[in-house]
Symmetry: C2
Subunit: 93 residues, 2 copies
């Protein structure tokens, strides 16, 4: 195994977290694009589970000093906002 610097760990950690966040954002977008279909409770369950998984990864990365607490919060907040828009779209339909 190569010796890696803290900077390369931080870079890779952020890349992995943003990749996982992007997967969740895509799930939200798919649901937004199909608002004419009834809301699927299983879909919400999947989104909740994925959000929980991502938050655990972020906590872990923060504890290892791989990302800042602020950056982690920012990633989750962005997704929470999109989730909230999705929820509103269904509520106002």
């Amino acid at each position: 195994m190569d010796t890696k610097s803290q900077a390369s760990f931080q870079e890779k950690a952020l890349e992995l977290l943003l990749h996982d966040a992007d997967k969740i954002a895509k799930l939200i977008k798919v649901q937004m694009d199909h608002l004419t279909m009834p809301s699927c409770p299983l879909y919400e369950e999947v989104l909740d589970t994925q959000m929980f998984g991502l938050s655990r990864e972020i906590d872990f990365a923060v504890k290892l000093d791989l990302i800042s607490r602020e950056k982690g919060k920012q990633i989750l907040d962005t997704l929470e906002k999109e989730l909230s828009l999705l929820h509103d779209a269904y509520t106002n339909k």
Copy 2:
């Protein structure tokens, strides 16, 4: 932030994962010590959720080369065995 070596990241990552695994093991033990009480479905839900969270942390650490895939699998397998013992204890009660 100090520059840290890969070895120190690996050490800290393993420590964090074992700490989280230990919290789950304690949850299982508490339930084992109270077998005379009825099994609480919420308790199983909590254990499942915690196991999922830990598995996501482990996947993340494996992708960062902080722990080996085998070590991660070993941590989860150990907990799965304890969960299985708990389940058996309730089934055979």
